[in-house]
Structure formats: structure tokens, C-alpha cells
């Protein structure tokens, strides 16, 4: 219905993603403002048991089809387009994740609904729907007024508290007839699990993490020395791994691993949202960057505006001489 708020749930291997609960929390806020229902949209195959975790929703729209057993963009987009066409919600929240990147844009074009990407927040009031997008690598926030009766917001992880999206109870389930899911142009072949690397960065209590700001692969040993002195390991942001300077198993962030070490030293990492998503839970974050405006300083506890050569070798020496 026109004032409902739909949340497109994301799940992998039978487990709902944390961002799904965050979106339920945000969706509840929007549904309160619109006076509509909070509808959780659950596409998949054999996922009815997940409904028990969705007490925060007023109703669950289950789109069940064997073609949805494994995630593929085309099948999920077709299924979701059918569900959202039937639901006609005021707003549909989609995760800003790998799957969400596929879904949000395709749904926007197919349904003709505006899309706001990288949303930190969304509001509904007398002026209509507005969304706050985090753009330019997290350096700026754009607050936009959205036109039309329906819209899609791709929500960044961390936009709301997941705990507020968890509630006891099992909501009513509405089934949406599976759409035409034959002759699909994208087919699932297999799931590949991350290879165990030389180091499991999710288990390290100290990580020295390097980003584009280290400038050259030749500077990696300098930081490895600091990591060793601290009894920890070296990790990295995506550009370093894309350059082939460190293996994929060391990558922290959205398309890498989430880490929660006791100490996270971010060296030359600007702090793109995709990176922060993977390390914001660290107990102590120390950031060193030449750009005082780098978003990494928004999540760091201590910051140093400096070149990596000035301070870090001195710190390494101090730690080593103590040991």
C-alpha cells in the first residue's frame, strides 16, 4: 500500500545479514512517520524459518522459488520487482552491499522509482521523503528530496541499530507468486570460500593496516616491522590488495573481512565507508594520515597528521627497545 515501508532482506547460507535488522529498525521509523506497515520482503528458497527472526516487521512477504536457492542478480531482481510492484510501498530499503548494488539500480530502472545510493539516513515528513547519501569517499553528505510516490534507498551498514530491528514474535506471512524465473541469463555455479591465508586477520589482536597513502610497495616492510614489534599482523585496505601488494586474505572492509582487534593502526588509509564498515568495531583505533580531513579520523580514537616516515619508525624503535 502507498504508505507502507518495505525492507528487502539479505541473507546468505541461511543467515540474515546484520544490515537487514538495521534496515528493519530504520524502516520502523519511516513506517511510523508514514502511518503504514513495515513489510519485510524475503526472497529465497526454503527460508521460511527466517520469519521467526522478523518480529520487528508487521508482515513478511515471502517470495519463494527454487530459482532463488542461490543468489543471482537477475532472478532476485525479477522476484523483487514483482514483490515491490504488488506492494507499492512509499519507500523500499535495500542494503548497500554486493547484492544490494545489483538490486537497487536494476529495480530503480525497471520500476521507474528514484534511487538514493549510499544512504546514511532517510526521513519521511510533511515535505516527503528525504535521504542522506554519503558520497565522495565519505567526505561529504548529500541530503536530497526525493520525487514521486515510491523510492528506493540503498542503506549503508551502520545507519541504524540492529538491536532495534530485532523483536520477538512471528509476523504474518504473505506469499507473492514467483514470477517467471525460467531461462535466466545469470546462473549460479558454485560458492568459493575464502582460502585460509598465512595469517587470519580476524583472529589477530593487533593489526597494522596499510592504505594507498603508503605510496609504494617498498614501504610495506617498514610497517611490517611495526606490526611485528606490536605482536600483530599486517592488514590492508582494498587498493593495496587490488595492486597486488598484499594478498586478499589481508583485506579489511566490505569486500574483505570484518575485524575487531584490540588495536587497529590505520596507516595511509583515508577511511572510505567500505573500509570503515570492516574495522569500526576495533577497541582502539589509531590513524596516521597526511590529510587532516580524512574520514578515518572520524572513527579513530587517536589521530596523527603526519607522513608515515616521521613517527612510525621512532615508535617501532621504542617498542623494540622495551622488549
Amino acid at each position: 500500500m502507498l504508505n507502507d515501508v518495505a525492507v528487502v532482506l539479505e541473507h546468505m547460507e541461511g543467515v540474515l545479514a546484520e544490515v537487514s535488522f538495521e534496515m528493519l529498525a530504520k524502516g520502523r521509523e519511516l513506517a511510523r512517520a508514514s502511518g503504514g506497515r513495515l513489510v519485510a520482503v524475503l526472497p529465497g528458497h526454503g527460508v521460511r524459518n527466517l520469519v521467526d527472526e522478523l518480529g520487528a516487521a508487521d508482515v513478511v512477504t515471502l517470495v519463494e522459488h527454487e530459482a532463488l536457492a542461490h543468489y543471482t542478480p537477475e532472478a532476485y531482481v525479477r522476484a523483487l520487482a514483482a514483490a515491490l510492484t504488488a506492494l507499492e510501498p512509499r519507500a523500499a530499503l535495500v542494503a548497500s552491499s554486493s547484492m544490494g548494488l545489483d538490486q537497487a539500480g536494476a529495480l530503480s530502472v525497471r520500476l521507474g522509482w528514484p534511487l538514493c545510493a549510499y544512504c546514511r539516513d532517510a526521513h519521511l515528513d510533511g515535505d516527503g521523503l528525504s535521504a542522506v547519501s554519503q558520497i565522495y569517499g565519505g567526505k561529504l553528505l548529500a541530503e536530497a528530496v526525493v520525487q514521486g510516490a515510491h523510492a528506493i534507498c540503498a542503506m549503508l551498514p551502520g545507519a541504524a541499530q540492529a538491536a532495534e530491528g530485532r523483536a520477538p514474535g512471528t509476523p504474518a506471512v504473505e506469499m507473492i507468486s514467483p514470477p517467471d524465473l525460467v531461462a535466466l541469463p545469470v546462473r549460479f555455479k558454485r560458492l568459493i570460500r575464502p582460502e585460509a591465508g598465512d595469517v587470519d586477520i580476524t583472529r589477530e589482536s593487533v593489526l597494522v593496516s596499510v592504505g594507498r597513502g603508503i605510496q609504494s610497495q617498498d614501504n610495506i616492510p617498514l610497517l611490517e616491522e611495526l606490526a611485528h614489534a606490536l605482536g600483530g599482523a599486517l592488514s590492508a585496505s582494498r587498493p593495496i590488495v587490488d595492486q597486488g601488494w598484499l594478498p586478499k586474505t589481508r583485506q579489511v572492509g566490505k569486500s574483505g573481512l570484518s575485524v575487531k582487534p584490540k588495536l587497529y593502526v590505520a596507516v595511509g588509509i583515508s577511511g572510505a565507508p567500505e573500509h570503515i564498515e570492516g574495522m569500526r568495531g576495533a577497541e582502539l583505533i589509531l590513524a596516521i594520515n597526511t590529510d587532516p580531513g580524512a574520514p578515518i579520523f572520524d572513527v579513530a580514537h587517536y589521530g596523527v597528521v603526519s607522513d608515515l616516515f616521521d613517527v612510525l619508525p621512532l615508535l617501532t624503535e621504542k617498542i623494540k627497545s622495551r622488549a
Partner: protein
């Protein structure tokens, strides 16, 4: 195989970004532009496929300013054709509009595979690749890290998810892929080679077709996040800073 790579220019995030007087957009008069880094990976993946399997690579750019050197650089790296789509785009262009323009232009050229960067720092209304795929009615996969032919009419791709999980998918051609990272780091074109290409090669220009597509939303406020500066900044000489950091780590029992 004909591979088309649409690239776009984005503000260089290393530079300070200035917001215009109205507080609704970047001050584009002072902005330094560079190719979207994910588009560099898309170009590299295309050239890698060309090297391994043979392909004709066409690079396209909507002329939002400063695109010539980027396009010449792509030619210097090994692209076969570089096309500039001209029009009134100096004040920026929404992703939906760009996708609609690209869809019409690409429809008029051979295209088996379209490789776009998975995202860009400025795509507030969505990522161009996925919008392009949907506009053209072609299958699309985002966050792709590996592309290999699977027979004549399909490719095998790897899509990355959180936690390092990866799915192998088979995609019928023609298709649009949002490239996260090329198999190899993007190749480098020496300045001398780019200069030489600028003298000998010519960019093709196509006037942008009229389209009816936009973001469907209007920015009313563009500003720096207010939460900034949670970090306590440590200042002083390098020796003083190192001393203070050492003290912080020792207090917390992180140096044993």
C-alpha cells in the same frame, strides 16, 4: 569479442572538495578530475581479456570535462577505439542520465561485453553499470573480480560478497559487469607514449542523444559530515608524537 568500457571522471579525492555558494553541489570551477579508479580496473580487465583471448576494446566517456587525456591514455594502454560523447555535461550528470545516454550510444555499436567500474565516489543516484544494464535490458552482475569466456556466448565471472565469500556465476552475453578489481593491477601508460598517441590518434566524438532520465531527487544540502573529529589529535615533534603513542599503547597494555 567486442568489449565496451564506459569510463567516467570523478573529483580527485586527494584534493580538498569545495562546496558551491548554494551548498548544493561541488564548486566545479576549482575541481581536479581524474578517472574513476574502478573504471581503471574495468579498462584493465578488458585489455587483459584482449591479451588472453583477443577482443576489440572501445572506451567511451561522457564529456563531463577533462576526458581527452583519459581517453588518450586508454588508447596508449591498448584500447582500439576511444569515443567522447559530447553535450552539455559540464555541471555534472546524474547516474540515471549517464546510463540512459550510454545505453543509446552503445546500442549503436557492436557490444558483447560491457565492463564498467562497480561504483564511483559521486554516484549518488546509483551505479552507472547496473543502471546501464537495466536500461539496455541486459543481464548485469556487480562487484566482479574475474571474467573469463565460457564458450562463445557466455562468460564466467566471480562476484564478491562480505566476508571474502565469492560466487562463480555464468552470464549470457551480451552483459554488463560492474568490475571491482581487475585480475592484475591496472597497467601504466608512460607519459611519452600518451603524448605520442595524442599526436597520431584521434578521438571519435558522438553527440549525446536526447534522453528522458534523471536522478528523481534534488540535493538540498551538500556538506561535510558533522561527526568529524572524534579522534584526539596528537601533535608535536615526531619524537614527542612517538613518545605519546608509546605511552597510550603502554597504558592499555598493548606493549608488553
Amino acid at each position: 569479442m567486442d568489449i565496451v568500457v564506459p569510463v567516467k571522471m570523478v573529483p580527485d579525492l586527494v584534493e580538498e572538495l569545495e562546496v558551491n555558494a548554494e551548498g548544493t553541489d561541488l564548486d566545479r570551477s576549482v575541481m581536479k578530475l581524474r578517472i574513476n579508479e574502478f573504471d581503471e580496473h574495468a579498462v584493465e580487465e578488458a585489455l587483459g581479456l584482449k591479451g588472453r583471448h583477443g577482443a576489440r576494446v572501445t572506451v567511451l566517456a561522457v564529456d563531463t570535462g577533462d576526458v581527452d587525456e583519459t581517453l588518450f591514455t586508454c588508447l596508449a594502454k591498448g584500447a582500439d577505439r576511444a569515443v567522447k560523447i559530447t553535450g552539455d555535461f559540464q555541471n555534472g550528470v546524474s547516474s540515471h542520465t549517464m546510463a540512459a545516454v550510454l545505453a543509446k550510444v552503445i546500442a549503436g555499436m557492436p557490444h558483447d561485453l560491457i565492463l564498467a567500474g562497480v561504483q564511483a565516489a559521486d554516484d549518488r543516484d546509483g551505479q552507472v553499470g547496473v543502471l546501464l544494464g537495466a536500461t539496455m535490458g541486459l543481464p548485469h552482475v556487480s562487484v566482479v573480480t574475474g571474467v573469463e569466456p565460457a564458450g562463445d556466448k557466455a562468460v564466467s565471472v566471480r562476484q564478491e560478497y562480505a566476508g571474502g565469500l565469492v560466487a562463480e556465476l555464468e552470464v549470457d552475453l551480451p552483459a554488463v559487469l560492474g568490475i571491482q578489481a581487475a585480475r592484475q593491477a591496472p597497467r601504466y601508460a608512460p607519459v611519452s607514449k600518451v603524448r605520442q598517441i595524442m599526436k597520431t590518434a584521434k578521438l571519435e566524438a558522438i553527440a549525446a542523444p536526447a534522453v528522458d532520465a534523471g536522478a528523481g531527487s534534488t540535493v538540498r544540502r551538500l556538506a561535510k559530515p558533522e561527526v568529524a573529529g572524534r579522534a584526539e589529535f596528537i601533535e608535536g615533534s615526531p619524537e614527542e608524537v612517538a613518545e605519546r603513542l608509546y605511552a597510550i599503547l603502554t597504558e592499555r597494555g598493548l606493549v608488553k
